[in-house]
Symmetry: C2
Subunit: 404 residues, 2 copies
């Protein structure tokens, strides 16, 4: 036990190192390793020139405000630009006064965890689900119940059964957390029918739905279904969260949260204690990048680039992976998920060998599964590696799988 461990709260004791982040640290140090870990955009395409210009302009034009403290909710210009963006791209009408700017969507998820969870609470997520959300909900003390996915997203009949069961033992969840479009890690997108079913169940059991939506802005298939739950939300019970990380750049750490009206003030007060407000400068940069069309143009670039990379990864998987594997065919996002149906296959146990001998990295799927399953799965990122690396990395992975 370390020197001050006896003073630590249960929350911080529960936090384990994230495999993704630990991996990133290792593989960053070797050029030889092809990494499918992480969820990192390809920096080659960042609109550097435009952002350099915008950053300069914003400080020169209104540095008195851009360098100063701001309102906790965020500067009005940024909240307005986000509200307009969401209306334009999603058809969701939101008053800028119902938008809170956060430090990436991770902070929005943290705000939700702190606002609702007390130890012992149930929380429902998809299974598998986003690693950092799962870990965070658990650190806050939640008992996370995962609902399995298929090609059409969360199995809402199973959700209905679970809610009925939880209701009968007076243990309804604090909220249902879903990533309906190009889900992380599975790559699956929820059908419209199931989206409606989720909202119907939320209404029936009077629940909050947290819609985490980082990926729906650049879908590879224009006919794809991606109506936000927030759009279907007639009873104002969806907390919608998203981020600039994938549609512009993660390094500015701008995210946002659009909660039901009754929760805005509560979350604002919580955010005030968390960091007073997110960086003013970055908010002005993002607002101007939206207003000048930089974000829209960048979305078209990443849509094209990531679609191509996804296509190549799928082609690689089809070519190299043995027939006892399954992989998702995502319509967006940054990830392909794969299951290896080989007895006792353990992607976690093999990771060290993968990195050291096969020079390829991935995220073992187990840590995305609330029920502890998924040892035979991995998450593969296609946004960061080059096309050559994608083929070569998939080939190496296939070797690893065959020799395991």
């Amino acid at each position: 036990m370390d020197k001050f461990d006896h003073l630590l709260s249960p929350t911080i004791r529960k936090i384990k190192a994230s495999e993704i982040r630990e991996l990133l640290k290792i593989i960053g140090k070797s050029k030889e390793i092809i990494s499918f870990a992480g969820g990192i955009p390809d920096p080659k395409y960042f609109p550097k020139k435009e952002l350099a210009e915008i950053a300069k302009e914003v400080i020169e034009d209104f540095g008195d405000r851009a360098l100063q403290y701001s309102e906790t909710m965020g500067v009005y210009e940024c909240r307005k630009a986000v509200a307009e963006f969401i209306y334009r791209t999603k058809g969701v009408k939101t008053d800028p006064d119902n938008v809170i700017i956060t430090t990436g969507s991770q902070q929005a998820i943290d705000m939700i965890a702190r606002a609702f969870i007390v130890p012992g609470d149930k929380v429902i997520t998809e299974s598998p689900t986003y690693l950092a959300s799962l870990g965070l909900f658990r650190a806050q003390g939640a008992d996370v119940v995962g609902i399995k996915l298929d090609d059409h997203g969360m199995k809402t009949l199973a959700l209905e059964e679970e809610l009925k069961k939880l209701k009968s033992i007076d243990a309804l969840p604090k909220f249902i957390y879903v990533i309906p479009t190009a889900q992380n890690p599975s790559g699956v997108t929820m059908s419209l029918e199931r989206r409606k079913h989720v909202m119907e169940l939320a209404g029936k059991y009077d629940l909050i739905v947290v819609e985490d939506d980082p990926y729906s802005f650049f879908l590879f298939d224009n006919r794809a279904e991606a109506t936000p739950l927030k759009y279907l939300d007639k009873e104002d019970r969806v907390i919608y969260i998203s981020t600039a990380s994938k549609i512009l750049a993660p390094g500015i750490r701008i995210g946002w949260i659009m909660p039901p009206k009754e929760l805005v003030r509560r979350l604002e007060l919580l955010k005030q204690y968390m960091d007073l407000h997110s960086p003013t400068l970055n908010q002005y940069i993002f607002a101007r990048a939206l207003d000048k069309g930089v974000v829209d143009r960048h979305i078209e670039v990443v849509r094209r680039v990531y679609k191509e990379k996804r296509d190549h990864m799928i082609a690689g998987l089809e070519k190299y992976f043995p027939n006892y594997t399954w992989f998702s065919r995502p319509i967006g996002g940054l990830f392909i998920f794969t299951y290896i149906f080989k007895e006792d296959f353990d992607a976690g146990a093999l990771l060290e060998k993968a990195i050291n001998e096969y020079k390829v990295a991935y995220v073992p799927g187990k840590s995305f599964h609330p029920d502890g399953g998924g040892a035979n799965s991995m998450r593969l990122n296609f946004s960061y590696p080059s096309i050559n690396e994608i083929y070569e990395g998939v080939r190496r992975l296939a070797e690893l799988i065959k020799n395991a």
Copy 2:
């Protein structure tokens, strides 16, 4: 009760609106009101030109990194620049790997609150103390014990008594939170003797000391005593936190935390769940502003400007305030604290009248006092208003006090 109130955690229920922030919202809308509320730097002096240039350069020169995700602790360049800055200005040697970059020091305080406090825990602060720390510790469930101040800072004999008492009932505090230099709100600076006494007591009772140090970089009196507790810390038990908000600009939201070595990894993991990391771009901007001497030059500017403003506020107080008042004579920081010794004087109850009739705003002192006292006190900010406004505002305040 609002729609989802039954789902909220005790933490978020406990959070009340901060008077400072609410005030800021009102007075921002009227030009007539002279505001001594808030703790806002004078934006006239922000090094806008230099920062505009630096922001542009940083994105142009290494946008691939500056716009990308970074390590949770912060980018090495920034942690190194901060470690060097603290060594150069304070004589405190720190490995960059023991520095975590945060989103302002408010986030550092929040990290500490979450890392240690469970409901019912004792926490010791000065009385009065920083409003947002007090509110946050309480929201996390702490029972905050305030130790009174005099002209030499926290009364450490009273601290010793309190610790003895708490020890006897097996309720030692999770930590002692102090702002030793140019304290907010009191403006008082702790003597070297008392600093040593705090560290001696921390050692005796095996306690963590949180040293919040936003103001010590620009002292108005060069002979002033401001040896950091971190410098006196032979047993590695001080968590030192500070911020770029006062020495450069609050809008970039850069702060840092230098914990005992044993706590670095724990806090890093917590930070990862809170927001993955603070904005990469802002870290590079701050690192370069430090390296290029922009921060040092700005410190000289604010030292001069705020010293002049402090002098004028003291001159105004001496001229206009009745003789049944006391006010601090701070050697740094942004605030003067004043007590009005007039029967039943209630600065909180008078605030609305002050704003609406006398057109002057301040922060009532009561909310800074852990024990609920201090109704007859107010905090006056001298960094934001102009010199004319300082005299006129103090004159109006004096009228308010006399007519109360």
